[in-house]
Every structure is written in structure tokens, then in C-alpha cells.
């Protein structure tokens, strides 16, 4: 009696386990579940195989010169203005030279660089550590053009990507950002609490044939183009000027270059 009851319970337990596991196994077998999300490209979409940016710091005369590009980004991407610095969301922002390039700190810095602020943003690395860290592929590098993107709907908010990013380019929604957005741009999604976000090189604008918002508002400070095209404006700027990249020694291969 005791024995048969035990056997019954065993069989029942194993069956229950089998039933519970079947949706999981289904998900594994579904191939499309593994694909990264796609963004539909418009007819006039700008095309490149490796988008990159060159920042001409010689054209920056004071930190105020950076305000228009930062404001443009904040506005179209519905970036909230939060009360506490701890919870800040930043896609492109201003940093002093020794914060943007801490490994190049010197007591005798060029006077011009000493007095201006530099714009910093996601570097859209060639080998991004954040994408390696992400356990759900919610952040991924678009193979077609090298843009490092975010799927806000897949992100579980583990913040492994934030620990992995050596540029502090990622922000986390510590609370619902919506009440802190001055004017909502209905053409771009707002985010919810608990997900990570960052600059996407305006992938949504590139798909419509427009340059990134910061580039448009930058007054020539930011140059944007295809790093694989030797006739592009970025390649011309790189040919004619000496440039540096942030934390180049880490091997992440940033796609953002600075003319200093």
C-alpha cells in the first residue's frame, strides 16, 4: 500500500515536470525566437556598413556649444529630467577632458582642452562588451551597419551591460520616467521603469534618411558617416587630422573619434 502510493506520487511528479517543461522546450525549438529584432528601413534610408562619428573638438569654444546637440537628443528621444543625479538618463552629455579620457590625464594639458567640455556618447564599439554581457540579446550590434541597439521590451533590467560598458554610456530607468518628460515626442517610444537605455546613433532617423539629431544640431562639431567608405566625410576628416578614441587600449574598437 505504502509502496504503491509512493510510486503513484513519483509518476505524478514526473508527469507534472514534463508538462511544465514543454513550453520551455517549445521556445527552444522555435528558431525565430532567437533572431534579433528588425527595424524596417524606409525608401530614403541612409545606408552604410559601419556608421561612425568624428568629433572636431577644435570647433568647441565653451561648454555651451554642446547644449544644442544635447537638447536635440533629449527632446526627440523623450529623455526625462529626473530630480536626483543618481537616476539620471543620459544619451549624449558633456564631460571634462580628464573624465572623457581619464587614462590620458596630465598636469600640463593644452589650455583650450582644459577649458572646454567634450561630448560623450555610446561609442558603438566594433566589439561591444555590453552585447557580450547581455543574457537576453536585448542589446545587440546590428550586423548590417554596426549600430549597437537596444530592445527595450526584451531587457530584463539586470544591468550587466552597465557594468560591462567602460564608457558609462548606459542609463537605467530607476523609476517611471514618463512624469519627468517635459514634452513627449509621439514619434519615439517612451521607456518604462526597470530597463536600460542608451544612444542608438538615431537608428530611427537613419531609417528615414535623416542624420542623427545631435549631428544636425551640432553646428559642424559632429561629423557622421560610413567608416567603410573612403570617400565619406568621416574618412576625409580622419585622413586629414590626428584623432584619438576613448580607452582604445581595451580593444573595444570605438566608432567615435575625437580630433583634439
Amino acid at each position: 500500500m505504502e509502496d504503491s502510493r509512493r510510486n503513484f506520487l513519483k509518476i505524478a511528479g514526473i508527469s507534472a515536470l514534463g508538462l511544465g517543461a514543454s513550453p520551455v522546450l517549445d521556445a527552444f525549438s522555435k528558431e525565430e525566437g532567437l533572431q534579433t529584432p528588425q527595424m524596417i528601413q524606409g525608401e530614403k534610408a541612409l545606408k552604410a556598413t559601419h556608421w561612425g562619428m568624428v568629433i572636431d573638438t577644435r570647433k568647441i569654444h565653451s561648454s555651451e556649444d554642446l547644449n544644442p546637440m544635447i537638447a536635440a537628443c533629449n527632446k526627440i528621444h523623450n529623455i526625462p529630467k529626473l530630480e536626483t543625479e543618481n537616476h539620471e538618463i543620459k544619451w549624449i552629455w558633456a564631460e571634462a577632458y580628464h573624465n572623457a579620457f581619464p587614462e590620458k590625464e596630465t598636469n600640463f594639458l593644452n589650455e583650450r582642452l582644459e577649458h572646454i567640455a567634450l561630448p560623450v556618447l555610446c561609442n558603438h564599439c566594433e566589439d561591444p562588451p555590453c552585447c557580450r554581457a547581455c543574457p537576453t540579446q536585448a542589446t545587440f550590434k546590428r550586423e548590417s551597419d554596426g549600430v549597437v541597439m537596444m530592445d527595450f521590451h526584451r531587457c530584463i533590467g539586470c544591468r550587466f551591460c552597465m557594468a560591462a560598458c567602460p564608457y558609462g554610456a548606459r542609463s537605467f530607468n530607476f523609476r517611471d520616467p514618463r512624469p519627468f518628460i517635459k514634452e513627449t515626442n509621439l514619434e519615439f517610444p517612451t521607456r518604462m521603469k526597470g530597463v536600460v537605455e542608451k544612444c542608438s546613433f538615431c537608428a530611427e532617423r537613419l531609417a528615414e534618411g535623416k542624420l542623427p539629431a545631435c549631428v544636425e544640431a551640432s553646428n559642424g562639431i559632429l561629423i557622421f558617416g560610413d567608416l567603410d567608405d573612403d570617400k565619406s566625410e568621416v574618412r576625409q576628416a580622419l585622413r586629414e587630422n590626428y584623432t584619438i578614441r576613448r580607452k582604445q587600449n581595451l580593444g573595444t574598437g570605438p566608432s567615435v573619434y575625437y580630433i583634439v
Binding site: 521556445a27 537616476h87 587614462e103 533590467g157 521603469k193
Partner: protein, 385 residues
């Protein structure tokens, strides 16, 4: 055997009710976190992991520490530990329950948790951490349960169990190694980017886990008719002694490499922790306390005269447990984020809600541990007659 966990004295139920109340408080605060977001914690854009992940890391160590009773018994046939392997395994189970809960409360979008399974990403260390932690939980439940059941029935455990037992030994090493790899493979985090991080984690785990086990053995002896045994406790004490010495040695290796090479990316974090940086040094007293406690632990444990006195041994174990907790729980995670990669010094301190949620999870672990130990000890008392 579960029925053994629901037959208990008033004292047993009182203790369980107390723990349940703490769990309840933690749960209510968690509901608040769920509705507001992780903004109720002290974490920030710069210090994006805090108390939850720190305690998670520490408890992975406690879980792995259980192997220090399993290995000598099953690999070296050290018979004395046969009596207490079950306590080590059940301690691992309770620790892993806490680990998984701490990960859960740290997620910004916990209801999307299963995305880790729906979109498996073998390049992410977190994916592997999920596998090793759940695997180790499974192994310890299966092994612990079957060995205990066999003991109750006066038979030896089923033959198919042996491979699981043997597998659980390297698996214990793997859980803490993979957890260390979460940190040590990140470019631009100089404090964690050291090949000795996994060995350091393991050495502190093999000190903290058995130290807690000794304390639990002493409590069990006091409260029940089951005596884990003097020899067993003394053997554990030697393990703690070696492990804590190795842990401090590894730390000194880190200090040498950082300061003799004098590379700022590596020294900055250690400076922040031990002397403060740019006028900020909230953790300085904590870190020195940790060093002091570990030193006290070493002195009391290495010296056979003090080690053999169980009262002094208990003090040493508390010192080791708290010392390694500060080192790993407070210093290791905050220390890695301060200064930030852009060299800003933004400090972190857990908030009250964050601490309450963590306490709730510790209470949950204690609840699971008490129930499992109650079961194991009832079987032992039953067998002894």
C-alpha cells in the same frame, strides 16, 4: 520526510513564525519596489549593482562552502564527516534559495525573467551562472534528500546517486568560479579584472561556508539531541583556518600587484576602499574592521590552543564570517564601481528599504534552513533511537 518539518515544539514554531514575519516585512517592501522601481535603493547610474548583488555573491560562496564537508567524506573516505554531510548540503540549498531570490529582486523587470531561457545567450556569463546555480540547487536537493531517506530506512543510498554526488564536487567550484567571471571579464573595471578573482572568491567561500557550518553545529548540539561531534567541528575549524589564511594571502597579492606596478586603474579602487578618494571614504572604517576581524580569525584559528576551545572557536568563526562578508559583501561590489570608468567618485550606501528586502531574503533562507535541518536532525534522532 517532509512531515518531520511540520512536527515541532512551541520553540520551533515560534522561531519559524518570527522568520515568517521578517519575510513578510521584506515582501511588503518588495511590493513597494515593484511599483516604484529600483529607485528606492541606493544604486545609481555609476554604482549600478549594490547590496543585492553583493549579498548574492557572498551567499554563492556559502553555498559552495558546503563542498568542504562533502569532498573529504566522498573522495577521501573521511568517515567522521559522514555524520554532517547532510548539514553541508542543506546549507547549500538554503543559500542557493537566497541567491536566486536576490537575483530576482535585483531585476528591473522581474516578470521578463524567462527571457534568459527564451533567448539563450551562451556568450553571456549570466546565462552560465543561471545554469550552474540552478544545477547546484538541483544536485543538493537530490543528493541530500536521497542520502537522508536511506539513512532513515537504515539502507545505503541508491547506486544511481553516486555520479550525482561526485558531480556535485566540481560543480560547487564552478558556481563560484562562474560568479567571479561575471566580474573579472569586464574591460574597464580594474578592481575586478584580475585572474585571481575566482580563486579569491573560492578561498573566502571555503572560509565563510564552513565557519557558518561550525556555528550551526554548535547551535544544533545545544538545541537538539543530535551531536555533530567534536572531531567534526575541529576538522572544519582547520579547513576554515587554511582557507582564511589563503584568502588574506590572495588579497595581499592583489595589493602588491596594484601598488608595485602603480597603475592608477588598479590602485584607485583599493585606495577608495582603504583610505578614501577625493575626500570620500564611507567604506574605510568597514574595510579596516574587515581586515581586523580576519586577522583575529587567523590568530584564533591557527593557534591550536585557542582553536580547541569551542567557545573561542565560535568567536573566531563569527569574526571570519563577518570579516569576509564585509570584504565581499560591501567592498567587492562597491569597490569595483567607485571610481566610475569616467573617474567620478560617486559613493553608494544601501537604503532602508533595500536592507529590509535583503533581510527578508535572509529570513527566507533561515526558514528553509531550519525546516531542512529539522528534518535531517529528526531523522538522526529517530535512527539513534
Amino acid at each position: 520526510m517532509l512531515e518531520l518539518a511540520i512536527k515541532g515544539s512551541k520553540r520551533y514554531w515560534g522561531w519559524m513564525a518570527l522568520l515568517a514575519a521578517v519575510v513578510g516585512v521584506g515582501f511588503l517592501v518588495y511590493l513597494q519596489q515593484l511599483s516604484f522601481g529600483l529607485g528606492i535603493t541606493g544604486m545609481s547610474r555609476d554604482v549600478s549593482w549594490g547590496f543585492y548583488i553583493a549579498n548574492f555573491t557572498y551567499l554563492v560562496g556559502v553555498a559552495a562552502g558546503g563542498v568542504m564537508v562533502v569532498l573529504p567524506y566522498y573522495l577521501h573516505d573521511y568517515k567522521a564527516f559522514g555524520k554532517i554531510t547532510i548539514l553541508g548540503e542543506f546549507l547549500a540549498v538554503a543559500s542557493l534559495v537566497m541567491c536566486l531570490l536576490l537575483i530576482l529582486v535585483d531585476l528591473g523587470q522581474p516578470m521578463r525573467m524567462l527571457n534568459v531561457i527564451f533567448y539563450p545567450s551562451p556568450r553571456s556569463v549570466l546565462f552560465w551562472d543561471m545554469i550552474v546555480l540552478n544545477g547546484y540547487l538541483f544536485l543538493n536537493i537530490v543528493v541530500g534528500w536521497n542520502v537522508l531517506e536511506a539513512e532513515r530506512n537504515g539502507t545505503s543510498y541508491p547506486f544511481w546517486l553516486k555520479p550525482f554526488i561526485l558531480l556535485s564536487i566540481p560543480w560547487a567550484i564552478s558556481i563560484h568560479t562562474v560568479t567571479a567571471y561575471l566580474y573579472s571579464g569586464l574591460p574597464g573595471r580594474g578592481f575586478w579584472m584580475t585572474a585571481i578573482l575566482a580563486p579569491r572568491f573560492l578561498s573566502s567561500a571555503f572560509a565563510a561556508g564552513p565557519a557558518l557550518l561550525i556555528l550551526l553545529c554548535l547551535v544544533v548540539r545545544k538545541l537538539t539531541r543530535f551531536d555533530p561531534g567534536r572531531e567534526q567541528i575541529q576538522s572544519l575549524a582547520k579547513i576554515v583556518a587554511y582557507a582564511i589564511c589563503i584568502n588574506v594571502f590572495f588579497f595581499l597579492c592583489e595589493v602588491f600587484v596594484a601598488f608595485y606596478s602603480n597603475i592608477p586603474e588598479h590602485t584607485a579602487h583599493i585606495k577608495y576602499l582603504f583610505v578614501g578618494l577625493e575626500g570620500k571614504g564611507a567604506l574605510v572604517p568597514w574595510m579596516w574592521t574587515s581586515m581586523g576581524l580576519m586577522a583575529v580569525g587567523i590568530i584564533l584559528l591557527v593557534n591550536p590552543v585557542t582553536r580547541r576551545q569551542e567557545g573561542v572557536l565560535a568567536v573566531a568563526c563569527v569574526a571570519v564570517f563577518v570579516g569576509t562578508w564585509i570584504d565581499k559583501g560591501l567592498g567587492m561590489i562597491s569597490g569595483g564601481f567607485v571610481p566610475s570608468p569616467l573617474h567620478h567618485v560617486n559613493e553608494y550606501a544601501p537604503t532602508i528599504p533595500e536592507i529590509l528586502i535583503t533581510l527578508g531574503i535572509y529570513a527566507m533562507g533561515a526558514l528553509v534552513l531550519t525546516a531542512l535541518f529539522k528534518m535531517a536532525i529528526s531523522v538522526k534522532e529517530e535512527v539513534a533511537g
